[in-house]
């Protein structure tokens, strides 16, 4: 199990580097798919089956489709090769610093919950349920029943209203996407050839002439 986490984590980290350093945006997108897939495996090993499925279907499926379509839409050329300058050094230092600080904080049990940042005893932070209103004795049951059921049980009872509001959100985004990109012309408007003929009638004669010839 730890082995799977190491392999998947390493793959996720390497492909994340590939996202940043690929010269072609499309290769970045493909690396991101691999990174998302590796993260999904980590979620699965941590017994979060619902996150695993969401990660694959929504992120690796839907969101990546949008990314790839936007890449096709904007058609960016090759990026220029990154230069190792001061800005690059500051960015890398900042990213590494934040990551190391977060790892150290997690290792030393400093977590964030409803009470804000606070230090826990070492080892306590590795318990994923601390700080939440989960019954500790129920952990085994939750895990054997499968995380999907427990998510569903909460979602369709306690969080019924947010769930139904989600459908409104999806409805608005469907209508918005169509409204923003719809054709402004009405379907009975003349097509391009008819408009061209209306503007320059001699085109019709040219066309006939070509056909006769």
């Amino acid at each position: 199990m730890t082995g799977i986490i190491w392999v998947a984590g390493g793959l996720a980290a390497l492909s994340a580097l590939g996202v940043v350093f690929s010269p072609q945006p499309l290769y970045s997108a493909l690396s991101l798919v691999l990174s998302i897939g590796a993260l999904a495996v980590i979620f699965l090993v941590l017994n979060a089956q619902f996150l695993f499925v969401v990660q694959l279907i929504v992120y690796a499926g839907a969101v990546m489709v949008l990314f790839v379509f936007i890449i096709a839409l904007l058609s960016p050329d090759r990026e220029e090769r990154f230069r190792v300058d001061a800005r690059f050094a500051i960015g890398v230092t900042f990213a590494v610093g934040v990551t190391v600080a977060m790892l150290l904080a997690a290792r030393n049990g400093i977590t964030f919950n409803g009470n804000g940042f606070r230090a826990q005893q070492i080892g306590q932070a590795s318990d994923p349920y601390h700080g939440f209103a989960f019954d500790q004795s129920d952990n085994g049951l939750v895990n054997t029943a499968g995380n999907v059921q427990s998510v569903g049980g909460q979602l369709f009872t306690t969080f019924l209203l947010p769930f139904e509001i989600t459908s409104m959100l999806l409805l608005v985004s469907a209508i918005g996407a169509v409204y923003l990109t719809r054709r402004r012309r009405d379907p009975n408007a003349p097509v391009r050839r008819e408009r061209a003929l209306a503007r320059e009638p001699q085109l019709e004669e040219d066309r006939i002439e070509v056909e006769v010839r």
Binding site: S75, F156, R183
Partner: protein, 118 residues
Amino acid sequence: MLSDFAPILVFLAVCVAFGAGVQALASWFGPRRPSAAKDLPYECGIVPVESARRRFSVSFYVTAMLFIIFDVESIFLLPWATIVRQLKVFGVVEMGVFIAALLIGLIYVWAKGALRWD
């Protein structure tokens, strides 16, 4: 349980092994005699006249957006399906309301002709 997902791991391993294996076998045993004629578009293919990196129609974007919306809808069906027996009629009704709201969206999209490709 994690072991329930072992078939997926086996499936992935077989996919990767097959893909890599076919490539490796082809490169080891296949003859390689490149020529200018072999790089031409095959038979009825058209000789490319410009770069393939050009802007695509916005219709692709609409299609992708609509796919995402109904994909996110389908993700809610998964936890619902696992506990629909416990939720009984209540669960059917609430999912009915959810899907009805998205059905309105689908009808709007359909009526606006966003599903047509022209």
